[in-house]
């Protein structure tokens, strides 16, 4: 249907299309779930946080700068949303920490499921004993494998502060966690 002299304008810059960003968010789900489970102490609460994070991220997508890391930006949103909801939970007296029996991550078969549940419960329990500022720093670096620079950026703290939070988290964790 294209007539001479009447060019049909092509779409451009598909890389940052909404479709592409949504697909990137789907790919990020496992990492977001892991980070959120570590923050909240349970898979179920973590998934609630991830859903909230995604909705918030899409609603505020204009605040994200194309070319910067979408994953780091979403980690930051998750962290901030967690702090916000924790404040409101504290006000209402709700405390949620345990790992539910039917957590989706532990539905694998038999012994392995039991071990996984135990391990996740242990680790989640130990992590929950850390102050939030140490927990989030340790999760980003030791579990997500982010550089100190990226983690400090996500948490909006100087690298020196991050370095010492991670060291303190490690010392504390070594005390809580059972010996091998």
């Amino acid at each position: 249907m294209e007539e001479p002299g009447l060019p049909v304008v092509k779409d451009v810059d598909m890389e940052w299309s909404a479709e592409n960003i949504r697909a990137q968010m789907v790919q990020l789900l496992p990492r977001l779930r892991r980070f959120a489970a570590g923050l909240t102490g349970s898979v179920a609460d973590g998934d609630d946080l991830v859903q909230d994070t995604i909705e918030r991220a899409l609603k505020n997508l204009h605040q994200w700068e194309p070319g910067t890391r979408l994953d780091n930006w979403m980690f930051r949103i998750a962290k901030n949303r967690f702090i916000d909801t924790r404040r409101s939970h504290k006000r209402s007296g709700v405390v949620a920490m345990e790992v539910p029996e039917d957590a989706p991550s532990v539905r694998a078969d038999g012994v392995r499921a039991a071990e996984a549940r135990l391990m996740l419960a242990d680790v989640a329990g130990a992590l929950q004993k850390l102050p939030l500022e140490q927990r989030e720093a340790l999760l980003l670096v030791a579990v997500e494998g982010l550089s100190y620079r990226d983690a400090a950026d996500i948490l909006s703290v100087p690298i020196g502060t991050l370095t010492s939070r991670i060291a303190r988290a490690r010392e504390a964790l070594a005390q809580f966690a059972p010996q091998d």
Binding site: S17, R22, V26, R34, E55, S147
Partner: protein, 236 residues
């Protein structure tokens, strides 16, 4: 003799965050100091335990509700309007709108767009949809689909739309005047075949339309109430 490295230094060593020379120094120190080496090993084992505890989450399929949220939760209007930022898109679209020119029109004989006095005007099903349909009521799956509505800087109501056709789908921008709906822009949509769960994502505006909207919009896009009010008063 140098003092023992702090736990902070050992911790940064574990994360590979020390300068190369310092990494080497700590590595050789650990070989000679079983006590420090034990602390580092214990921490590495804790880190592996932590990663292992979450390993199932990395392989398990994410719950449907999370996938659905990523695929279809509403996207920021501001982002839709701003993100095209590439000047090569913004400048021509803005300039052409300012001059009242029409670009990218593939006129279809007897179709939904006709040429009158040098203007491309909506006709038929497209004109009806622009006059009557409300985006806030959702898309029935047939005929032209309305996107966003807004007032342009000249005070006219404008609406984005999509139309299908044998040659593929097109997105456009129409502004209302006393002659009816004048087509300011029409462009092919390369990803129009998307269906199912991706339908919403696939139906989002091409950049060039966003650029045109952003170049001409006064204020914010209409919300559902604004859209209905504009429709009910017959569009400005």
């Amino acid at each position: 003799m140098e003092s023992d490295p702090t736990h902070e230094t050992l911790s940064a060593f574990i994360d590979g965050e020390l300068p190369p020379k310092e990494m080497e120094r700590i590595a050789s120190l650990l070989a000679a100091r079983p006590d420090l080496d034990a602390w580092v090993r214990r921490q590495e084992s804790l880190r592996l335990g932590m990663k292992g505890a979450f390993a199932d989450l990395m392989t398990a399929p994410a719950p449907d509700r999370l996938v659905r949220a990523a695929q279809s939760a509403p996207i920021s209007w501001r982002w839709r309007l701003r993100r095209f930022a590439a000047p090569r898109v913004l400048a021509p679209a803005g300039a052409m709108l300012a001059l009242g020119l029409v670009i990218g029109i593939a006129l279809q004989p007897g179709g939904e767009i006709v040429s009158r006095d040098g203007r491309a005007l909506a006709r038929g099903a497209l004109a009806t949809a622009l006059n009557e349909r409300l985006a806030s009521e959702g898309y029935a799956g047939e005929g032209p689909r309305i996107g966003i509505s807004f007032k342009n800087r000249d005070g006219h109501d404008c609406r984005t739309f999509e139309i299908g056709g044998e040659t593929g789908a097109q997105s456009g921008l129409a502004c209302h005047s006393d002659k009816g709906w004048s087509i300011a822009l029409l462009t092919a949509r390369p990803n129009a075949q998307a269906s199912g769960a991706y339908r919403m994502a696939g139906s989002e505006m091409p950049d060039v339309i966003r650029a045109a909207v952003s170049a001409s919009i006064a204020g914010e896009p209409f919300d559902a109430a604004d859209e209905k009010a504009a429709r009910d008063r017959g569009w400005n």
